[in-house]
């Protein structure tokens, strides 16, 4: 984890990891703790992923055994490959852009108010998110959103019974305020009345 382990100890550890599931779990937990302490980017090493990689390697056809040394080398190499694949999978996990694309939908103002609401088709083309400058007026805007969110979470108490979890976005330190689309400004009543 920190590169401080000796060469001989590393070889011994790799051999133990390949055969000891409890040790692999401990290894996983230490990595989670390390990631927490270092605040590393990226996803945690998934236990499922490790087990799948380990399982896939176990299912691989094994050539006829040669010597005791070659079995040890194969085991060590297999574990190293498993670790490398897992590490590569972790490293290639990119930023979650799932929040960026949002469904394009027909606005409610374009629907007669008296008619029952009908879910529009939300599978339309995706819209890209335009990040905004967080300095100057935007930081003031951050504060405004904080006020509305604090009140919202205080009143709802975390709808769904999740309690403090609802307040987590307020504590998230990164100013993740982005303007995705300018809204209509000015007086819309007349326009709405015309549409109705």
């Amino acid at each position: 984890m920190d590169g401080e382990i000796g060469h001989d100890s590393a070889r011994f550890l790799v051999r133990r990891l390949s055969a000891d599931g409890n040790l692999r779990d401990t290894w996983s937990r230490y990595h989670v703790i390390r990631d927490c302490l270092r605040q590393q980017d990226g996803e945690f090493v998934s236990q499922d992923l490790r087990e799948r990689v380990h399982g896939a390697l176990a299912d691989e056809p094994v050539p006829a055994p040669a010597s005791r040394r070659s079995r040890w080398v194969r085991s060590a190499v297999g574990t190293a490959i498993a670790a490398s694949v897992a590490l590569a999978a972790v490293l290639v996990v990119g930023p979650d852009r799932s929040l960026e694309p949002q469904p394009t939908m027909e606005s409610a103002s374009q629907q007669p108010a008296a008619e029952p609401f009908v879910s529009p088709n939300i599978g339309g083309p995706m819209r890209s998110t335009q990040p905004v400058n967080l300095s100057g007026t935007e930081s003031q805007s951050d504060g405004e959103i904080d006020a509305y969110l604090l009140r919202h979470y205080q009143v709802t108490g975390g709808a769904g019974g999740r309690g403090f979890v609802s307040f987590v976005p307020v504590v998230v330190t990164r100013g993740a305020v982005e303007q995705t689309e300018p809204a209509k400004t000015g007086d819309n009543r007349e326009a709405d009345a015309v549409r109705q």
């Binding site: 879910s119 009140r151 919202h152 009143v155 403090f164 987590v168 303007q179």
Partner: protein, 323 residues
């Protein structure tokens, strides 16, 4: 009747009964257990919160005893930010440019929770599934998946402590099932193991400053009907709460809360005259979305942990309520 037909009818009846019974445990029972545990138990722990490429470590201390309920949520990594909830209200302390904020208590009891609809009433909007769990932070868990039936709300995967119902891991899912955020405890103490000293604030004096919220105090509006409200709502959402400053408030301010039983959206309607140049638009903070819109001499703000399509739709549907 032929045995095959009987078997078919029996199978159909079982299929209809399973969602309500869920093998003796219902999703709504687990939701109620979670809500009670999160609000009424004493617990303390460290968890990681992952959103996209951002990983943050936070610490929560939640005390519920004869002195009332107090809670402190603080970021361990990155700039200092914390939220304190107690009888005085909610206070946000921040060492960054966004600054701190204090919102006075507006609820009794202080940790008010919107009544959680049972799974049956929310089943039009969500599909509930109880699954086996895993060990998290040393606790055995039960997994509850709440999947949205349309694109107007998020899904949730909840891993709940088998013994207490406390939330051990939570995953927020987009309408398409994609991961949006994840929270997982790495350490959790319950009851007498909790150190109450963690409720005391830390950090320098700059970190402990907070300014009063610009929003007026509010209370339940009672039987008074809102003058402005969305003319249409996404399916499943209904008015859960209507709040206003009452007779003490000189300016127009209304706070409408809409809920589908799991998600909640706040609609604030207030005077625009104090800040006529406020920017309108659609913004995001974490997993929450906000939609701002000028409307005549009013300003409409819609916020909630829902997709941007939902806040936009509700915001654009606000109209004067016809008497």
């Amino acid at each position: 009747m032929r045995p095959l037909a009987l078997a078919g009818i029996a199978g159909l009846l079982m299929t209809l009964a399973i969602p309500a019974a869920l093998a003796g445990e219902t999703a709504s029972e687990w939701l109620e257990r979670m809500s009670a545990a999160m609000g009424q138990m004493t617990y303390q722990g460290t968890f990681v919160y992952i959103q996209g490429d951002d990983v943050q470590t936070m610490h929560i201390t939640h005390l519920a005893d004869e002195n009332g309920t107090r809670e402190r949520l603080v970021s361990v990594s990155g700039p200092h930010r914390e939220v304190v909830r107690d009888a005085k209200g909610v206070r946000l302390f921040s060492g960054d440019k966004r600054g701190g904020l204090a919102d006075p208590a507006i609820n009794r009891p202080i940790f008010f929770e919107l009544p959680i609809s049972d799974a049956a009433s929310a089943s039009d909007s969500y599909e509930f599934r109880l699954l086996g769990g895993q060990r998290i932070a040393g606790h055995s868990s039960r997994r509850l998946d709440i999947s949205p039936r349309d694109g107007y709300r998020y899904g949730h995967s909840l891993w709940l402590d088998q013994q207490s119902g406390l939330l051990l891991q939570w995953k927020l899912l987009g309408p398409g099932g994609e991961d949006l955020a994840r929270l997982m405890f790495t350490e959790l103490k319950i009851g007498s193991e909790v150190d109450p000293e963690a409720l005391r604030g830390s950090g320098d004096s700059a970190d402990r400053r907070s300014r009063p919220s610009a929003l007026p105090a509010e209370g339940l509006a009672g039987s008074r009907q809102p003058e402005w409200a969305p003319a249409s709502l996404p399916p499943g959402f209904h008015l859960a709460s209507h709040r206003s400053p009452g007779d003490t408030g000189s300016d127009r301010f209304e706070h409408l809360v809409y809920s589908d039983g799991i998600a909640a959206v706040s609609v604030y309607i207030e005077e625009r005259s104090h800040n006529p140049d406020r920017p309108a638009g659609l913004k995001r903070m974490g997993t929450a979305h906000a939609y701002f819109r000028a409307l005549d001499d009013l300003f409409v703000t819609v916020v909630g942990d829902v997709p941007e399509a939902t806040v936009k739709l509700i915001g654009e549907a606000v109209r004067p309520v016809q008497p």
